[in-house]
Structure formats: C-alpha cells, structure tokens
Assembly symmetry: C2
Homo-oligomer: 176 residues x 2
DNA sequence: GTCTATATTCTGATAGAC
DNA sequence: GTCTATCAGAATATAGAC
C-alpha cells in the first residue's frame, strides 16, 4: 500500500498550490511551511534554500511528465483525444505541477522553463507520429496550449472541448 | 507631433518590461524606478503605492485593448487573419502589456485578470460575428491563446502561423 | 526531523529638502 | 517633480535547543 505522503512531498504540494492560487509573490518560505503544517526551520531541513525547493518541484515535474507522455502514447482513446482531454483543467497533480511551473518559468535560472519545453516537445513528437501531419500536429498542440492557458488564467469554458472536437471532425469528414 | 514620453509612461513601460522579462518578484518599486531612470521617491510621486502602479498599468491596457478590437474589426486582411497575426510575438506595446498583465493576473485584486477577460471576450465576439460559426470561432480563439501562451513562455515557432493557416484552409477547401 | 530564536537583506512607504 | 534619508515589516537564511 502507498505510504503516507512524506513531509517533503507535502512541502512541494503546498508550494505548488500557493503558486497556482496566489502566484509567485505569495509562495514565500513562511507561507509554504505554514500550508504544509511545519515551521520554517522544518522546511529548511528538507530544502536548504528556496532554490532547492524550486529544484525539487521541477524534478518531480520532470518525472510526472515522463509518465504522462507514456500514458499519452498508449491511451485507448488515442494520443490526440488524450492530449486534448488532459489539456483542460482536471485538477490532477500533474495539472497543478504544470501551472505552478509556468508561474515561475521566467524567474530564476530557467530550470522550470526548460522542463516545460521538454514536456511540450515530447507531446509534439507523439502527436506528429500519430497523425503523420506536421501542420495538423502543430495546430492541435496550439489548441492544447490554448486550453491550458485558459486554465492558467482561471478561465473556464465547459463547451470548448466539444467545439474543438467538432471542428477537428470536419477535417476528416468534410460536410460537402 | 507626439510629445516626449512622460515620466509616468516611462514608469509603466519599465514596470511592464520587468514583469515580462523577470516576473512579478523582480518588478519591485526599486527596480521599476531604476529602470525608468528615476528614484523611488520620484516613482511614488506619480504612483502613490504599488497598487496604484498596477491600476495604472491595467487602465492603460484597457485603452490599448479597445483600440486593438477596433483595428481587428476593420482590418483589411479580415478579423481572423488579424487576430492570428497579432497573437504571435510582434514586440508591440500591446503585446508587452498583455504579457505583463497575465504575469500578475492571479495576484492582487484581480483587476488585471478582469481586463484580460474583457479583451478576450471582445475578440471572441468579433470572431463569431465574422465567421458565424461558434465552434470555429472558439477553436481559432484557442489557437490564438496557444500562440500567445508560447510567447508568454518564451517559446518561438516561426512556422506555427503557416501551419495554422494551412489547416484552416483545409476547412474551407477540402483536399478531396 | 522539527522547533524557536536571531541575523540580514529586501520591499513598500513616509517625510521633508531642493 | 524629483531627490535623499529613514522606518516598519517581510523574506531568506543560520544557529542551536529538543
């Protein structure tokens, strides 16, 4: 059975949640420690500095990203539908990690931006392999980016995915 | 002739540029003042607090947004092409203002998020009127969001727009 | 592993000179 | 309109007790 979430993981969870909900400025060591239910000293035992905390978050994101790409590659519904479905807010751990990373992507030493770019490249590779159509793969990736950006900004469009599916269907079955 | 850029405008420019380049944490009053070439006291004469500075930026963005929507509505190339072209990084003042605003959209009292939502709504309205096709309008807006998100993350895809145009062309002229 | 001081620097903001 | 000096509080980080 899965052991209880470690303090280390709870600290990363709290850091991500603060980034998602209130942004980079609010995600202070104080706030992260409090949200995880430990003292600042307790936090600094696990992550010796704020930079180390960011590193830990980014490293966990990289692992989650690898898992996601494998799930996308082997999804029953196919890579495209899997990609679109997971581009809308689902509240998953991976969603939170992605949004959190993009909140700090332009700060610090760009490690977050690098991992985000890596994951995006993997998604594109899978889409291109599946579709064998670079222009369409690029367009679908942009639509996923758009859905993801809406999530990032807190915009919710329940019908967006339906509309996208309808338009994509026209490409394979023209309404002539 | 246009008079020289006022100190007030230079302060807003510097604030936006810092938000775009280094993010919210780096956009301190100290840094903004230095980048604009004035002292912190000088800054605080024009904007009495950081909140006022944000207000000023958001208000300027609203005006730029209204101008842009009018340009989109009357563009020679049509609203769709105008929208796609201006969704990729062009380095315009409006681009910078949009990216800057989304960097702080989840912070403070959500004024930035509100104006961004307003502008997005206007774009969608114009797209829907022009296309008379809600699903397609929504999809094109998402593609624009995707292009904009790539810019936001510092990703550059010179061929993205070409690919999008190609796929959109297939919708009106099927390759049967 | 976790906590409570404490040190240090940064950040936003005020007061008053020029 | 712009500057310097200054302050209170926040943010990161260290030291050492438990």
């Amino acid at each position: 059975m899965p052991q209880q979430r470690s303090t280390r993981d709870r600290l990363l969870d709290a850091f991500e949640q603060l980034l998602v909900d209130e942004g980079s400025r609010a995600a202070t060591l104080d706030a992260v420690a409090a949200a995880a239910g430990v003292s600042k000293g307790g936090l600094l035992y696990h992550f010796g500095s704020k930079e180390t905390l960011v590193d830990g978050m980014v490293e966990r994101l990289r692992e989650q990203g690898e898992t996601d790409v494998e799930l996308m590659r082997t999804a029953d519904v196919g890579p495209v539908e899997y990609y679109l479905q997971t581009s809308v807010a689902s509240g998953s751990d991976f969603d939170r990690a992605l949004i959190a990373a993009s909140r700090i992507a332009q700060e610090n030493t760009h490690q977050a931006a690098d991992v985000l770019a890596e994951i995006r490249d993997s998604w594109f590779t899978v889409l291109k392999e599946d579709l064998d159509d670079e222009a369409l793969a690029r367009t679908i990736q942009l639509i996923g980016d758009g859905l993801y950006y809406n999530d990032f900004c807190g915009i919710s469009n329940p019908t967006a995915l339906t509309h996208v599916r309808e338009v994509l269907a026209r490409l394979t079955a023209p309404t002539d």
